[in-house]
Symmetry: C2
Amino acid sequence: MGITPQQFSQIQNRLAQPKRAPGPAFDSSPPAQTQSVINQIVLGIDPSLRGTGYGVIQAGKPRSTSLAFGTIKCPSAWERSRCLVRIAQTLRDVLREHHPTMCAIEGLFFAQNLQTALIMGEARGAILATVAEAGLQIFEVAPRKMKLAIVGYGAAQKHAVAKMVQRMLHLADVPDPDAADALALALTFIQEQNRFSLSGPRKV
Amino acid sequence: MGITPQQFSQIQNRLAQPKRAPGPAFDSSPPAQTQSVINQIVLGIDPSLRGTGYGVIQAGKPRSTSLAFGTIKCPSAWERSRCLVRIAQTLRDVLREHHPTMCAIEGLFFAQNLQTALIMGEARGAILATVAEAGLQIFEVAPRKMKLAIVGYGAAQKHAVAKMVQRMLHLADVPDPDAADALALALTFIQEQNRFSLSGPRKV
């Protein structure tokens, strides 16, 4: 049984419309943004007090490209407040140089105890304030979702993520694990925005 | 049995030396700063995502005076990142206007669960980064120690703290509870620095 010319043109019209990320069906997170990320510059961040990873990616088809990445290292002898200042200032330099418009940050993390959660929260707070003040939209990407998107396995090791990131972005070397996680979060966010998804990343 | 003139002069010499806050005897926190706070301007902060209290106090003898205080309110509809920007920007205004040199922030808090600890940590992180970037030394004051110092009872209610703060600073009205806690933290820090103490406030 064929389709009529009228049905055919209806399908053509539907396909010609921009793809959209509809509201989530089964969870309470707000609907994802519908704007396209192609040619947008996305900042990925893997927050940590002593080693925050960051990665800046220009979204593109067929391939996204890495503009910058690195790890903000703070010696363990430094006071926490000094680390937070270093993180904020380094990110401000990155924002000034590359002008990303969107940020994908690791969300739904697991902490061993309240003290760890508090310290991790402090790093996230300094980062969120800095990035939001620069006007970026910020989205949380769950680490499990990132591993599934990049390696195809939600409990993948850090090194496996780094190797895949190297291949996807055609990098000369395997990036530092924290920087690789940040690049992977940005790549996952770009993939998510470019396809039909039941539950988009959560805006924070 | 009396004391000899030699013993008497030894005691006199000891008393004439500047008071110091020695290293803690039973915990691992680093020794407190020994510099005097008299005439210093101290910023007290009670961190919270939706209602951070702040208070600026000029340390003095016999009485310290309040220069400014308030609560940084953020509606519950706001995204977390937006609240953090509001907190950072308001504190930057306060720092610019009053030029405090030291900050007393609530430490050793209690969170009901990891999610609460994370959100509380985010507020603290945005605050610590902002205050440390302005060059202030930051000290943590445990809420129990603050209540003990201000009300004389470690589990005092918020309202009791606010009433005592009003009396100590000769304020016309009872301050908002969050602002009162911030003023009380600054007052406790000033008291601590002015007397012999076994465990001084912890630097962060």
